[in-house]
């Protein structure tokens, strides 16, 4: 019998995929209205991206549904397609998924702000997360991941929404800024606060992704490890972005990323993947580094 995600997570450092948006942009199809629409317009491309990540060594890929929650889709005028977009996304990831590997349903933030900054209520957000999670679960994902959350209050609403939708493994991943005073979310929440609050809300695993490069994630991982006994997922960007002629580039080499990933593992990361700027080369280098092979340049 094939191992469940939890069983596998106990055995080894789980490897997640790298960026989806980076590959979409590299393929020159970023001009479509919403990257989510590629699930319908260019399904073979999405499946190919997933396949590239599995081939590179990823144990888990994320569905192309980061922006597929009802609130975000409403802003793009395609709210009616919410169910189809999420369902197709799971199908495409499933097509690429070999036996013994996993598909995680990806859920991003609503893009709205709670009072006093914005006027979207936490109840509205929770309902939106519930609706998206329900479709993802029904479509057959192995687990769900809430990622790039910049507000702990919204993230808690998301955890509750998912919990109303069904019993499934849930990872909740926040995005942190590094300041002179330490690591904080946009709203000023600390790593410890996020870890304990999300755990209490009902997340099975917690994590950090985006904003920071692999080197800046090292101390954060240490802090995270000290805050929870649950498995943690770290997904750094490919270093710090540089801008030339108005275009943003991530210039870190996959080997540098992989070297930092070894340290992340030592610091207590149970699962590692990549965020903005990472591609299958990064995941290949990461896979090699974590299996103890020397890192090729």
């Amino acid at each position: 019998m094939q191992k469940t995600f939890l069983e596998k997570a106990k055995e080894k450092t789980i490897i997640f995929d790298g960026a989806m948006g980076t590959l979409i942009m590299a393929a020159g199809v970023s001009s479509v209205k919403s990257p989510t629409l590629l699930n319908l317009e260019k399904p073979e491309l999405v499946t190919d991206f997933h396949k590239q990540y599995f081939d590179a060594g990823a144990d888990v890929v994320l569905t192309n549904t980061f922006g597929a929650n009802p609130i975000k889709l409403k802003g793009e005028g395609i709210a009616l397609q919410m169910e189809t977009l999420n369902r197709e996304a799971v199908k495409l990831a499933r097509q690429a998924c070999p036996g013994g590997k996993f598909v995680a349903g990806d859920i991003g933030p609503t893009g709205k702000m709670l009072p006093p900054i914005g006027d979207c209520t936490v109840e509205e957000m929770q309902e939106a997360f519930y609706l998206q999670a329900k479709v993802l679960i029904e479509s057959g994902v192995d687990l769900l991941i809430l990622e790039t959350m910049y507000s702990l209050e919204e993230a808690v609403g998301a955890v509750h929404g998912v919990r109303n939708a069904g019993d499934i493994i849930l990872i909740a991943s926040m995005t942190f800024n590094k300041t002179e005073m330490g690591y904080f979310t946009l709203m000023g929440e600390t790593v410890g606060q996020c870890a304990s609050t999300l755990e209490r809300a009902g997340a099975n695993m917690m994590g950090a992704n985006c904003t920071l490069g692999s080197a800046d994630m090292i101390d954060l991982t240490k802090e995270f490890r000290a805050s929870t006994a649950r498995p943690i997922l770290i997904q750094p960007n490919a270093g710090k972005p540089v801008t030339r002629k108005g275009v943003t580039y991530y210039e870190q080499r996959p080997s540098e990323f992989a070297q930092d990933a070894r340290i992340l593992k030592e610091m207590g990361a149970d699962m590692i993947g990549g965020c903005c700027g990472t591609n299958p080369e990064f995941i290949r280098a990461l896979t090699a580094a974590l299996s103890g092979n020397s890192i090729a340049d």
């Binding site: 300041t179 002179e180 709203m187 000023g188 801008t243 108005g246």
Partner: protein, 210 residues
Amino acid sequence: MGVLEDIYTAVVDGKVDYAVSGVEKGLHSGISVDEILNKGLISAMDLVGERFGKGQVFLPHVIWSAKAMQAGMECLKPYLTGSQHEKTAKIIIGTAKGDIHDIGKNLVAMMLEGAGFDVFDLGVDVDSETFVQKAVQENADIIAVSALLTTTMINMADVVDLKNQKNLSSVKVLIGGAPLSTEYCEEIGADAYGVDAMEAVTKVRQLLNR
């Protein structure tokens, strides 16, 4: 100094009610509108902005301070003389055509209002004609355009071009958003680039030369 200090503290602490009662008390006790505005409200917001830039306070705090500042400004409005009104620069703000991401734009709008400017928010997905038309209509000093995507930031160039076509040399264009840079700002001929909401305020002041 007591009342001015109260106003200042109310804004720094983000207490809306205290800011209002402070401004009212200040007006009753004959403190000049200028002093209340500059020493009470604006300088307090500057401190909050500075602390935000250093990561000492966070977004929700800044928002409450901006709300306190705005509430104080509302009380002052009936007392502002013509010349003081003129001093308040007008800013047209919105996201670039095709871009619906408005978190950054909303922050910048709030910080600009907090700094005492008149802000007209055109919302999201604003085309260049609308930006320029509104700027003419409102006799605005600045058009501020925000974009999150590399695919929409190119539409900022249209705003600059259209503005130049109409010979609106007194209207300046400020741009901002995650994929932008000073180089891009120069490339499209915009007048200034703000790396974050705080710098947007600084750049507006520089553009207005005050």
